[in-house]
């Protein structure tokens, strides 16, 4: 079945270092991916998305890379800050009938930033 999974449940980094969070997906037909950040006690917050016709997209301090050959995407955070500490979810789009789409969330990676 379709699944979106993450390689590492917890990632610890030093403040100022770059962080890389990885995600694998199984549905080769997936064409749209989103990264969400969820801080403790809050709802998930949209970070960045990417369509399958791209292999890289950059935002402010974040870059998402998509490798369709191996069905893998990653979120890179430059100069990681304490405020980046959170759980990060990747999600892909399941296309349903009637024009509905549904987001399938991966299990999440906890990013811990140490001073």
């Amino acid at each position: 079945g379709e699944s979106v999974g993450l390689h590492l449940p917890t990632l610890s980094v030093q403040e100022g270092d770059n962080s890389i969070i990885n995600c694998a997906y199984s549905n080769s037909a997936s064409d749209y991916f989103i990264w969400y950040k969820q801080e403790s006690g809050k709802g998930p917050q949209f970070i960045i998305d990417i369509r399958s016709n791209m292999d890289k997209r950059q935002g402010q301090r974040v870059t998402v890379l998509l490798n369709k050959t191996v069905k893998h995407l990653s979120l890179q955070i430059a100069a990681t800050q304490p405020g980046d500490s959170a759980v990060y979810f990747c999600a892909d789009l399941a296309r349903l009938s009637g024009g509905y789409n549904k987001l399938i969330f991966g299990a999440g990676t906890r990013l811990a930033v140490h001073p």
Partner: protein, 120 residues
């Protein structure tokens, strides 16, 4: 600011005592969703409304019901909460049911802060 507001933020109930969680949105989005998120897990979709059209996930227990009296409000009713229903309940909205569109990211889900349910 336009946003998705959930009440209450924290709800404690007794085993079997009905609970209602509420969600309101000022985004004028057509679609509203309810997700269940247990500790250290990904959000799991329970159901969603596209306008007044209700869509239930196949594995959502009958114990969970929802109401959407108007565009702005959506309620989650848990008829007889069990210990396994303790979780964070997240409300989300999207502009339309497709979840994609232009500009990129314009139609992704916007989440509320969640309602944390404790069952004693």
């Amino acid at each position: 600011d336009a946003m998705v507001i959930q009440n209450p933020r924290y709800q404690v109930t007794q085993f079997g005592k009905p609970v209602t969680l509420s969600c309101s949105q000022t985004l004028n989005h057509n679609v509203m969703y309810w997700y269940q998120q247990k500790s250290s897990q990904a959000p799991k979709l329970l159901f969603h409304y596209y306008d007044k059209d209700f869509n239930n996930e196949a594995d959502t227990p009958d114990n969970f019901q929802s109401r959407r009296p108007n565009t702005s409000f959506c309620f989650l009713d848990i008829r007889s909460p069990g210990l396994g229903d303790a979780a964070m309940y997240l409300c989300a909205t999207s502009r339309d049911k497709g979840l994609t569109g232009s500009p990129p990211g314009a139609n992704v889900l916007t989440f509320g802060a969640g309602s944390r349910l404790t069952v004693l």
